[in-house]
């Protein structure tokens, strides 16, 4: 038995070896480099190979870093909230209203936005919300406004709209799967035991869909914290998020150690928040086995 297990696990390792080594090469190696840089001294355009904690001290005491980090977190939280709240009804519709034979087609339709690149989708929102954009010219033609509205673009709201749209399918899919897994007789049981449709949703459907909701939140939250393109294009560079700050430290100011310390700090914060999500999800998942 023991030898059988060993050869089986050896077989497994052989199978995953190519992607594993690739992942190590393109993920672990750069990460370790960044981690190493963050403890080195900046020698203005060069990096001095000398251990220091000065970068972290600078990052953690800088009020600008704190402001931008908090902005990143709050924008990501807002985007997550908006995305999940908008995705839930779509997922619910897909799971409970769409006929079983048509679900595949609907899922296919939901993935259509992915046919174009992320950059183009973000840019399209700029076209829609811009000073001479679709919304403004439309309203002008209709005679609702005389001057174009200036508050549509280059603010947090426009960033939230753009990101919520970009990440919608990522939120719809896990919630849809969680809803699909719910045994429909549980909902009938809820009704049979005297609860209305709304109360059955609240007491049965929603708790059982929570693993999907938490997964969706995690999937949307993590990448949006580090989003770079949307603040640059939709925010117009006036409201930078943490990724934009790391970029400017690394490339514009050429302070790689400080940029690395910023990146590691951001990663740590995301890691802690993710762990909280995972712990939450484990609580929900425990009941599903």
């Amino acid at each position: 038995m023991a030898t059988g297990n060993r050869s089986q696990s050896a077989q497994g390792l052989t199978l995953i070896a190519p992607p594993l080594s690739y992942a190590l090469l393109v993920m672990a190696a750069p990460l370790l480099t960044i981690l190493a840089y963050s403890f080195l001294k900046d020698g203005y355009l060069t990096v001095i190979r000398e251990f220091t904690l000065e970068n972290y001290r600078a990052v953690w005491s800088d009020p600008i870093v704190r402001t931008i980090m908090l902005r990143s977190l709050s924008v990501a939280a807002l985007v997550t909230l908006v995305t999940v709240v908008l995705a839930f009804p779509v997922a619910y519709f897909l799971s409970f209203v769409v006929a079983p034979g048509r679900k595949a087609m609907w899922l296919f339709l939901i993935t259509i936005p992915f046919w174009t690149s992320y950059l183009i989708r973000v840019f399209l929102w700029k076209v829609i919300l811009g000073y001479n954009g679709v919304v403004n010219s439309g309203l002008k033609t209709l005679g609702v406004i005389e001057q174009p509205l200036g508050f549509l673009l280059y603010n947090v709201n426009s960033m939230v709209i753009t990101l919520a749209h970009a990440y919608a399918p990522f939120a719809i899919l896990p919630i849809f799967i969680a809803l699909e897994k719910i045994d429909r007789s549980l909902l009938e049981a809820g009704r049979d035991l005297g609860e209305s449709r709304a109360m059955t949703f609240w007491r049965v459907t929603l708790p059982l869909a929570m693993p999907g909701v938490v997964a969706a939140a995690l999937i949307v939250f993590i990448p949006t914290i580090g989003d770079y393109v949307t603040p640059a294009l939709i925010g117009g560079g006036k409201i930078p998020m943490i990724a934009n700050m790391i970029q400017s430290q690394m490339l514009d100011l050429d302070n790689r150690p400080l940029g690395s310390a910023l990146a590691v700090t951001a990663m740590l914060i995301v890691a802690v928040l993710s762990l909280i999500f995972v712990a939450l999800n484990r609580r929900f998942l425990k009941v599903r086995q």
């Binding site: 045994d183 007789s185 549980l186 009938e188 049981a189 809820g190 009704r191 049979d192 035991l193 005297g194 609860e195 209305s196 109360m199 007491r203 049965v204 708790p207 059982l208 929900f284 009941v287 599903r288 086995q289």
Partner: protein
Amino acid sequence: MTTPSSSTAAHRARTAAARPMIEIKGVHKHYGDYHALRGIDLTIRAGEFFSLLGPSGCGKTTLLRTIAGFEDFADGVVLIDGQDMDGVAANSRPTNMVFQSYAIFPHLSVAENVGFGLRRDPRSKAEKAAAIEEALEMVGLKGYGKRAAHALSGGQRQRVALARALILKPKVLLLDEPLSALDRKMREQMQVELIKLQRQVGITFVLVTHDQEEALVMSDRIAVMFEGQIAQMDGPEALYARPTSRRVANFIGVMNFLPARILAETASGVEVEVPGLGRVEIPAANISQKDAGDEGPSVGFRPEAVSLVSASQPGQSRVTPGVIDEVVYYGDMTYYDVRLDGSASFDGKARPVRIAMRNVFGRDVQDVGTRANVSWSPGSLVLFR
């Protein structure tokens, strides 16, 4: 709570005279082009243990769900305790259901499952907890309240589902194939427990099952359904002994059929000629309808209504000789297929009849090819004409 009576006969006599609890009149149900229920008329009395029995697709579950309020239907009326259920949603009906899958909420504990329907109950928290504990005790799960529902076995889930429904003291408890997921031993145990429980709480039980044995064991009355219609509605003994059609006879247990030629109508029944059995007078009570597909009239009898005897046995039953064609030994029982002498006299076709014999001590199992005497009495024959 009514005082439980140990006598099944007394219970049946009482429920037969009780007020109607469920009245179904002319209910039709369509799924698209499919006609699932074709004019159901049914009265179930208060305190009855009633079963809907039939093969899959006969509409029995649809009928149960119609009573529960999960299905709309085209025409007809459903009354529960005299009240028209038209427009009354499932959550407002005085019925509760034990689902085939049990539908135990996986995110709740056993106690939370049982107490699910008590949300709007005005009682205090402590009183509700006591009621939950009492319900759990009733189904033999005392002390299980804190357990997670997903950690329960199939039999335990079933009990939780029962407790969850019964705690609400419904007028009618609906059970959708509740025992089909259990293994044989557990199923037999639960059958007995369900009967006891039903007598104890005095609630009307409506059971859906495809298992004829289950229906015979538990029910006061059974409605046998085929293709969206009720074929026969009777007590278990009547249903088994005097099925009103060959189809019902075939669905419930095994029945031997022999062609019959009708000779004369008599004052007390019908005189027929049956190949192998000769001239027999069938009592009027044992005369049933033949089905549309049957060739002609036939007589039927159950394998255990006849027996193999030694040649000279006195008594009022009649004896027909024959040859043993096949022997199937089951341990407690032996099944013999016997070709009766003269059974092919109508059309030359041999029609062996099945005979079930209990293997009591001192009786040897007979061998294939030996001659045997079959003892039978006219009262155990049913004529399908």
